[in-house]
């Protein structure tokens, strides 16, 4: 799923504003050890999540991401470390306080976890009911949320009669009944097909923007991070191995795991080109193959400038550019004119890409 949103200056500027310093969730050296297992589920996790942002935690299954998100509303208790949310150290809450506090945090689940014995409407209403909200206000709130998630006409259906996407919409509406400041998404789209996933992600984005709710999501799907998140952390064997703005982690991953999770293709050279690639020039007609890499650090894949500034024939072999947070990430593979050699690559090329790699010579025309 490649979403191509052509960026403009405005979008990029907007994304930068989002990173203003307004800390919402602070995870300080959190570790989790299960007694029955020898290895730690989480090891010294440190993360800062800003108010109003969508923060993704990506990792393979078993990496500890599920444990981490469940520590954020104390469905699990860390063995070590502190979690401060909105200025409150949540480990200090008593059982009674915790119940009340959890109402300021919504959570949605991979398998929706709707009550089968209650209708859509009753499912959304129940958290308000147990919190002692009067029925008139409950009805208003449920109506508002039903229209937000677009399920007014299915409100009296049983959850079993809904599609997966509709079930997750109910889950989202239910998570928002107490107007939470923080929404936790536990693999919220992993049980959905790609099209439904897109619709749910769009809904989450809308909620984040309209209601200024901080969203923390865990996923193993790179598209979710790519389409939705502002910042991302990569978790591997209970440790955060990399974190930063999505465009940065996506465009220029530092760790092997990140590379595999986020952009399995960005490293590759197409098979048909790879077979006729050699390190040295074998023949007078061999042409130099270079990779222009875009990591979101400022360079734009400006084909016009390329043609103007680099003399001779230029052939585009392969292009793979994705726009993440309004920034280009990916690669262009181009063949330069025969006049260019590995040791005399035109300096102009350096300004056209974030990184320039010389891959070798390709035989033939």
């Amino acid at each position: 799923m490649v979403s191509l949103i052509v960026p403009d200056e405005h979008v990029v500027a907007h994304a930068a504003v989002k990173n203003s310093d307004n800390l919402h969730v602070k995870i300080e050296g959190v570790s989790k050890r299960y007694q029955e297992h020898k290895v730690d589920a989480l090891r010294n996790v440190r993360l800062n999540i800003n108010r109003g942002e969508i923060f993704g935690i990506i990792g393979r299954s078993g990496a500890g991401k599920s444990t981490l998100i469940r520590c954020l509303n104390r469905l699990e208790n860390p063995t070590d470390g502190r979690i401060v949310i909105g200025g409150i150290d949540i480990s200090t809450l008593s059982t009674r306080q915790l119940v009340r506090w959890r109402r300021s945090t919504g959570m949605i689940f991979q398998h929706f976890n709707l009550l089968s014995a209650k209708t859509v409407r009753e499912n959304i209403e129940l958290p308000l009911k147990v919190a002692g909200v009067p029925s008139v206000i409950r009805a208003q709130k449920v109506d508002e949320l039903l229209s937000l998630v677009g399920l007014e006409d299915r409100q009296h259906a049983w959850p079993a009669q809904l599609s997966g996407g509709q079930k997750q919409r109910v889950g989202i509406a239910r998570a928002l009944v107490h107007d939470p400041e923080l929404l936790l998404c536990d693999e919220a789209t992993s049980a959905l097909d790609p099209e439904t996933t897109r619709a749910i992600l769009a809904l989450l984005k809308k909620i984040n923007q309209q209601r200024h709710i901080t969203v923390v999501l865990i996923t193993h799907e790179m598209d979710v991070v790519h389409d939705l998140c502002h910042n991302v952390a990569v978790i591997e064997q209970g440790e955060i191995i990399e974190q930063g703005p999505v465009w940065q982690v996506y465009g220029d991953p530092q760790q092997e795991t990140t590379r595999k999770l986020l952009n399995p293709n960005h490293q590759s050279v197409p098979e048909s080109v790879a077979v006729c690639l050699s390190a040295n020039r074998q023949h007078r007609d061999d042409r130099l193959l270079v990779r222009l890499r875009y990591t979101g650090r400022g360079a734009y894949p400006d084909i016009g400038a390329l043609g103007v500034q680099v003399p001779g024939k230029i052939t585009l072999i392969y292009s793979e550019i994705e726009w993440v947070g309004g920034r280009p990430t990916g690669q262009l593979l181009i063949l330069l004119d025969v006049q260019h050699q590995a040791n005399t690559v035109p300096t102009q090329l350096v300004n056209i890409a974030d990184k320039l790699e010389i891959l070798g010579y390709v035989a033939g025309p």
């Binding site: 469905l75 959890r102 976890n113 129940l126």
Partner: protein
């Protein structure tokens, strides 16, 4: 009405009374026991391993004693409760004590089958623990509990036949006295037909209700 039909009618009413009262008591006592068994386990909502173990042990104790023996062993207790050891009400005591643990175990299974994710979601939404029992566990387990109660009713009809031994009357007693002791095959056959019809009807309506409550 002929004498035989009148006897059959009285016997049917006695059976329904015994089974109905005992099962109703079993429902009221067994359901809380089932809930306690489910929520008091280690790592559950109200962890209390002591209560869990003792209650489990008591339930097993009553479940392991054959009904006929339980009935005889309980005679002093029955006399203390209802003042007599003879008749329909005297049979209700051992029937209830047999039905309660039986039903509690069946209801326990249904409650345990409720997806842990639902409990977790409720916790995440700020439910108190008793809210989770009342709004999540019990409604979600309801179809299974209804089916379990139907099984309990049918089993109790079976057991009530033995209660004839302490003069409780009922269909089982009628069939035993006429069919076995007097060798009146006709009465025995009619009683069997009535019992089959009774069980079939109960099962039919029990299943229907369980299906109606099941929205999974």
């Amino acid at each position: 009405m002929s004498l035989a039909l009148e006897r059959l009618w009285t016997a049917l009413l006695d059976t329904l009374l015994m089974v109905g009262v005992a099962s109703a008591l079993a429902l009221m006592l067994g359901l809380p026991i089932a809930v306690i068994l489910v929520v008091s386990g280690r790592g559950d909502l109200f962890p209390n391993p002591g209560i869990n173990r003792i209650l489990g042990w008591v339930v097993n104790l009553f479940r392991s004693i054959p009904f006929l023996i339980l009935m005889v062993a309980l005679i002093p207790f029955t006399r203390w409760i209802v003042g007599t050891t003879y008749g329909v009400w005297a049979a209700v005591v051992p029937l209830t004590l047999a039905a309660t643990p039986f039903f509690a175990r069946i209801a326990e299974v249904s409650l345990r089958e409720v997806d842990k994710g639902l409990t977790e979601a409720a916790q995440a939404m700020g439910f108190h623990r008793w809210h989770i029992v009342w709004h999540v566990l019990l409604p979600e387990a309801r179809p299974g509990i209804v089916s379990g109660f139907t099984i309990t009713l049918v089993t109790m009809i079976n057991a009530s036949a033995m209660a004839g031994a302490i003069g409780a009357g009922g269909l089982g007693d009628l069939a035993y006295r006429y069919g076995y002791q007097r060798f009146d095959m006709q009465v025995m056959f009619i009683v069997i037909v009535v019992l089959v019809a009774l069980v079939t009807l109960l099962q039919f309506f029990g299943d229907k209700l369980a299906r109606r409550l099941n929205h999974r």
